[in-house]
């Protein structure tokens, strides 16, 4: 407890230090305040947007898109990882196609997604899903391939059926890899979200940033950008907390995150 408080204190101190330097640099006139608003102006914009409800509404929309895209992409990634990890013929055929597809950056698909799905929710969810599927798939696949053969032998000796082997042995044994994939996926989900919302959207944090750009409200743009950082950090922390609860047995929980 003491250590974590100290950790929080140092983190807060670092943030405070960075913000003070930023404020000082802008206020002293080293940087043009019209191009790079001071933290105090950003905070004011933040309060203004909060009071108008603009911030909350757009945040809810964005987080909802990330959540849906992440759940769908994560589930598909795990499912495909199990398939290619367990069935060699699928890995040799479909796995290679996946390797090809995973090299297509989701940002390149933004225009196509808009044509296919319009500017509504579907295109955003599709792009987020695309970003999440591949890291989750490749990590799940690696986790399954790496399972020690003795665990699978024990499953046979203990007369487990295929479903029990999957549930009792394969998924737990690959879980640290799966969680790593999901964690990478969360970060990529936010990147895809913003790419999609910046390109064509009428709601969400990306829209808020893009709209503020048209109005030349740098303070609002910065408030939106910083909020993304906060969301990303929070999502990652919540994820680490939940994964530590579920895989307490692994080394994962003893690493400093």
């Amino acid at each position: 407890m003491k250590k974590s408080l100290l950790y929080l204190f140092y983190s807060a101190l670092t943030f405070l230090f960075a913000v003070s330097i930023w404020e000082f640099v802008v206020m002293a006139g080293f940087i043009n305040a019209n191009l790079f608003s001071a933290p105090s102006s950003v905070f004011s914009a933040f309060v203004e947007m909060f009071n108008s409800g603009e911030l909350l509404n757009n945040s809810i929309v964005s987080l909802y898109r990330v959540l849906i895209g992440f759940i769908l992409g994560g589930s598909v990634g795990i499912f495909l990882g199990i398939l290619t990890g367990k069935i060699q013929s699928i890995n040799f055929s479909f796995g290679q196609l996946m390797h090809f597809l995973r090299n297509i950056p989701p940002i390149a698909l933004v225009p196509l997604a808009i044509v296919w799905f319009g500017i509504g929710e579907s295109s955003k969810v599709f792009l987020i899903m695309w970003s999440v599927v591949f890291p989750v798939w490749i990590n799940t696949h690696a986790g399954i391939v790496e399972i020690q053969k003795e665990y699978l032998w024990l499953a046979k000796i203990f007369e487990l059926n295929n479903f029990q082997t999957l549930k009792e042995i394969i998924i737990p044994a690959a879980s640290t890899f799966i969680i790593t994939g999901l964690r990478i996926g969360i970060g990529l989900a936010f990147i895809a979200l913003i790419a999609a919302e910046l390109a064509a959207s009428n709601s969400g944090i990306g829209f808020l940033i893009s709209n503020s750009h048209l109005l030349f409200r740098i303070d609002k743009m910065l408030a939106g950008i910083l909020l993304l950082g906060v969301f990303g950090l929070l999502a990652d922390k919540i994820f680490v907390f939940l994964s530590n609860k579920t895989i307490a047995w692994s080394l994962y929980d003893r690493r400093q995150n």
Binding site: Q148, E150, Y151, K156, I157, F158, E159, P172, W249, S250
Partner: protein, 248 residues
């Protein structure tokens, strides 16, 4: 549960692939029910391969292996295998690991678990995860996991190989006590002569690769314990085995 007789008939195994390798050739032996038999031989002579075939994990290239006169075609709970490493499931605690093979009622599982936790002196550590325990304690839990489903045959593949000498002696005492209390057929693979003499009723000495049985030595020792390691009778057995192991 059945008696637990193991019979290998002209057992041969060839590892396939570009580096084809004949690990075993015409291996014949019988392990009587409730007998503790050691397969002793140099590294690479196919001891572990024979054990994996007896467990049904791999199929012989030629010949067959029978348990209670029935050919082994697939692994089963009736024939348990203990590996060189404990291979406990790291995502389960010690109690969950030991009870893993059981499909009994909750009350029965609890009673069996208590019995085996007590036999292994792991009661205090039942909520610990494997990585929190020493290798010796983990191997004790792995032995308990193998014994708990009451198999008729136990196959042990050098289970104490990675454990330091002093701890190994403790584990020998533990296994002697366990096999005395829960009489089982055991086929124990080792290349440690002391371990083979101390634990076994009979030792089958194998030739270097491709492995076959070269000699059979019966061990008659009373009141088995690690104290016997320094006794003249023990030394005589040891001398006989060393002679037997010598490559012609």
């Amino acid at each position: 549960m059945t008696e637990g007789k193991i019979e290998a008939k002209n057992l041969s195994f060839k590892y396939p692939g570009p580096n084809e390798y004949l690990a075993l050739k015409d291996l014949n032996f019988i392990v009587k029910p409730k007998e503790f038999t050691a397969l002793l031989g140099p590294s690479g002579c196919g001891k572990s391969t024979a054990l994996h075939m007896a467990s049904g994990l791999i199929k012989p290239t030629n010949g067959s292996i029978l348990i209670d006169n029935k050919e082994i075609n697939a692994p089963s709970k009736n024939v348990q295998l203990v590996f060189q490493q404990p291979h406990l499931f790291p995502w389960k605690n010690i109690a969950e690991n030991i009870a893993f093979p059981l499909k009994t009622s909750e009350a029965e599982t609890k009673a069996l678990l208590e019995k085996y936790l007590s036999l292994t002196s792991l009661q205090e550590f039942k909520r610990f995860y494997p990585h929190q325990l020493s290798l010796g304690m983990q191997q004790k839990a792995s032995l308990a996991r193998a014994f708990i489903s009451n198999p008729s045959v136990l196959l042990m593949d050098e289970p104490f190989r990675s454990i330091d000498y002093q701890k190994r002696l403790e584990l020998h005492e533990f296994l002697l006590d366990l096999t005395k209390k829960l009489s089982k057929t055991v086929l124990f693979v080792t290349h440690d002569i002391d371990e083979a003499i101390l634990l076994s009723d009979r030792i089958l000495i194998m030739t270097p690769s491709p492995g076959a049985i070269k000699e059979e030595i019966k061990i008659n020792l009373d009141n088995r314990s690690t104290r016997l390691l320094t006794k003249p009778k023990f030394a005589k057995y040891k001398e006989k085995i060393i002679k037997g192991l010598r490559i012609p």
